[in-house]
């Protein structure tokens, strides 16, 4: 079992957090805190690149919801850029794909947060 790896990068006024591995209870608090730090440091628009996330469980879902609330609190947005089929199924199961902005890939998500375009999933 691979722990979740987090890599942060900045594309203009959009910050990207790239996750790879299992997004579960072990990783949850780390991701939540990372996004909170990003918001505090002025990155209100955050793209979560989840293309390399192999598993998303209810703790991971909780982080997505909490992070959405955090960024909205700062007047920002959270966009998901790219999800694997297994992860997409989980999001669809709990209907969060209708609540979160989910884009086919990271670059589309970054462009959307620049232009304010909506989700296309």
């Amino acid at each position: 079992m691979r722990n979740l790896e987090l890599v942060e990068s900045v594309h203009g006024d959009v910050a990207v957090l790239t996750l790879s591995g299992r997004f579960d209870a072990t990783a949850a608090s780390g991701v939540k805190e990372q996004i909170r730090q990003m918001a505090v440091s002025g990155h209100r628009n955050v793209v979560l690149d989840m293309a390399a996330v192999t598993l998303l469980d209810s703790s991971g879902l909780g982080v997505l919801v909490a992070s959405l609330r955090t960024l909205q609190g700062y007047g920002g947005r959270l966009a998901i850029g790219g999800v694997e089929q297994k992860v997409r199924v989980v999001l669809e199961l709990v209907k969060l794909h209708k609540v979160l902005e989910v884009f086919p890939d990271r670059d589309t998500a970054v462009r959307a947060l620049h232009t304010g375009e909506g989700a296309v999933l």
Partner: protein
């Protein structure tokens, strides 16, 4: 005159015979190196009668070899003596007509007048040792000795060296001869001492430490012995060198090792005490002195009994005597914890090991003692702490067990038949307390409606269980309140819960499925908050997912809560579960998944609710070889196919 001539001839003949009887070959040549005279031994060596040798070049008569190659005519000792008027000497290989082997040849200049130089020489056949004189044997022995031997002339220069000298210096005999003693021995200061000793007529002996041209170290034992004439004048001196480099280096290594050991003994924190067979202390390191509080004077010569506790000391001599007389060792080589006694009488715990050393006929015992007072103290502390932690853990465990009982009290009876509906469930929390809750609730007049719910609070353990319990209470309260007004809408119940359980209140979200079954009509109306883990299993095995609803509870119901409905007939069942079931992973990394669950539901469509639950439980146990990491809950409710269950009326 004739008489004189006859006497002279007789004298010459006698001399000739005398010369012939000598074992050494003797010859002389004229100034160009032609043989003038030789004795019979020389003729035997040359392999021809004397008469045929006279007048021939000696370099032709005695062709010499050196190192396997013919000796250049100019290097022949006769040729060299004729050239420089000096004595020349050498050992050569000879392969003439008479015999073959090694010969030693010496050639001296003979000046008949100031202008003409002739030579006189001797040849000794070295391979004919048996017939050689004792003096010759000594000469050969010197030449062939394994020790390097040289002869130093009165002026301090080398006049002869043996083969071993050549090998040790890497220089040929000719290169060595003529060199000063200082050059030969390689150490100026010591050479001065040697020469002073030599002049005083004494023997000098000592070691010379030097480095050769390649920088390699060489230590030699050198003895310089003067030889005196009968009148007491120093004629020359014999130098004998013996290479002791390896011996010296091994001695130095041994000294260094001993020094290092000594340093270790001085520095080590363990006490090291050596005693003889009767326990008399022979050595103790500084750590031993400070550990036991004695001075070295007090320690040495005392008996080791003074270091043992009073109850052991009286037996100590007996122990040692028993062992020394061949008894079984009880402590030799064994590391053990015992008590030791300081000078002030106080006892302290030590790690103690003893080993026996035999030196010649003596038996010595070396004890290594480590003061473990601090370790013992901390062990005791740790033990105490551990006990206290265990007590606290037991108390926590007890609390958790009680809490789990409280949580279970919210669960319905395992198997229930109510108003023609049967009901069964499993609940497998991954901790003592779970974040899953499930249940059923009778609503409406005469309990016509059966409300079913399953809740999955994110996370598990105590916090999830508390939220789950609170949700159940709120749900039951809401459902009963609405039902009292004749309303059984699941969506309204979910909206009410949404208001009471916003995400920010507990920092965690929940998913929830809630449905109401009309036990008379068989209509099932439901909605879910992000929890479509629900199926209708038809009596014929067909499956229909109950996927209407909204998203997870607590984020403001952005999608609302859509209601769905299903009509149940005889033998149809509703199956609700949590994601802990489908995400269950075994040690091989396989996931239980809907791929395994759905065929099982189809396969057991003909069973009653409890039969289906039992089959599912058995399948989970067959699949999972490790403890689950999330709570697993499954609730099955159905309309039995049997006739006795279908006549229930409100």
């Amino acid at each position: 005159m004739e008489t004189i001539i006859q006497e002279l001839r007789a004298t010459l003949a006698k001399m000739d015979m005398a010369m012939g009887a000598i074992h050494e070959a003797i010859f002389w040549t004229d100034e160009i190196g032609n043989l003038q005279w030789c004795n019979e031994t020389f003729a035997d060596l040359a392999g021809k009668p004397r008469a045929l040798l006279f007048g021939h070049r000696i370099v032709d008569i005695l062709p010499l070899m050196q190192d396997g190659a013919p000796l250049d005519a100019n290097m022949h000792p006769v040729a060299m003596t004729l050239a420089d008027g000096m004595r020349h000497y050498g050992i050569y290989d000879y392969a003439g007509r008479g015999m073959q082997g090694r010969i030693e040849m010496q050639c001296f200049p003979l000046n008949e007048d100031k202008t003409h130089c002739c030579t006189v020489g001797t040849v000794l056949y070295l391979d004919g040792m048996v017939s050689m004189s004792f003096g010759s044997v000594q000469g050969v022995a010197l030449a062939e000795s394994a020790n390097a031997i040289g002869i130093v002339a009165v002026d301090g220069s080398l006049s002869w060296v043996n083969s071993a000298w050549e090998r040790s210096t890497g220089l040929s005999r000719n290169e060595c001869c003529g060199k000063s003693l200082e050059q030969a021995v390689g150490c100026g200061q010591i050479t001065g001492e040697m020469l002073a000793s030599l002049r005083a007529g004494g023997v000098w002996s000592g070691e010379v430490d030097s480095h050769n041209a390649t920088g390699a170290r060489r230590v030699e034992r050198v003895t310089l012995t003067p030889l005196f004439s009968r009148r007491g004048e120093i004629l020359c001196a014999v130098v004998v060198k013996h290479d002791v480099t390896a011996l010296r280096e091994s001695q130095e290594a041994a000294y260094e090792q001993e020094a290092r050991l000594h340093a270790i003994l001085e520095q080590v924190v363990d006490a090291i005490i050596t005693a003889d067979e009767v326990g008399t202390i022979e050595a103790a390191n500084p750590a031993a002195l400070s550990m036991f509080g004695y001075s070295l004077t007090e320690m040495l010569g005392a008996n080791v009994m003074m270091l043992a506790p009073p109850d052991v000391a009286p037996h100590h001599s007996a122990y040692m005597a028993r062992y020394v007389s061949g008894g079984e060792p009880r402590i030799i080589g064994i590391d053990r914890e015992v008590e030791a006694r300081r000078k002030d009488g106080s006892l302290f715990p030590v790690d103690f090991s003893i080993s026996e050393v035999r030196t010649g006929t003596r038996r010595l015992f070396t004890a290594i003692v480590r003061d473990i007072s601090k370790r013992k103290f901390w062990e005791q502390e740790l033990l105490q702490l551990n006990r206290s932690l265990q007590a606290k853990q037991a108390s926590i465990d007890e609390t958790l067990v009680s809490a789990a009982e409280v949580q279970r009290s919210f669960l319905p009876e395992h198997v229930r038949q109510s108003r023609g509906v049967d009901f069964s469930w499993i609940f497998i929390p991954c901790d003592r307390l779970g974040g899953d809750m499930l249940g059923a609730l009778e609503l409406g007049a005469h309990g016509r409606f059966l409300a079913l719910y399953i809740i999955d609070v994110a996370g598990h353990g105590v916090p999830a269980a508390l939220v789950g319990t609170a949700l159940v209470q709120a749900l039951q309260h809401g459902a009963e309140n609405f039902a009292a007004d004749g309303v059984t809408s699941p969506a309204r119940v979910l909206h009410a819960l949404e208001r009471q359980f916003p995400h920010k209140r507990f920092g965690r979200h929940s998913t929830l499925f809630y449905g109401v079954l009309d036990t008379v009509s068989g209509t099932f109306v439901y909605s879910s908050a992000g929890h479509p883990l629900a199926f209708v299993v038809r009596a014929d095995g067909k499956l229909e997912r109950l996927d209407k609803g909204g998203t997870i509870l607590g984020i403001g119901a952005p999608l609302g809560y859509e209601e769905g409905a299903a009509q149940l007939g005889r033998g149809d069942k509703i199956v609700l579960y949590t994601d802990g079931l489908v995400e269950l992973e075994n040690s091989r990394g396989d996931v239980y998944g809907e791929e395994r669950l759905l065929p099982l539901l189809t396969g057991h469509a003909g069973c009653d609710a409890d039969g289906m639950i039992k089959a599912l439980h058995a399948d989970i146990e067959a699949f999972a070889d490790v403890a689950p990491t999330d709570d697993i809950s499954v609730l099955v409710t159905g309309m039995p196919s049997g006739e006795e269950k279908t006549d229930a009326k409100p």
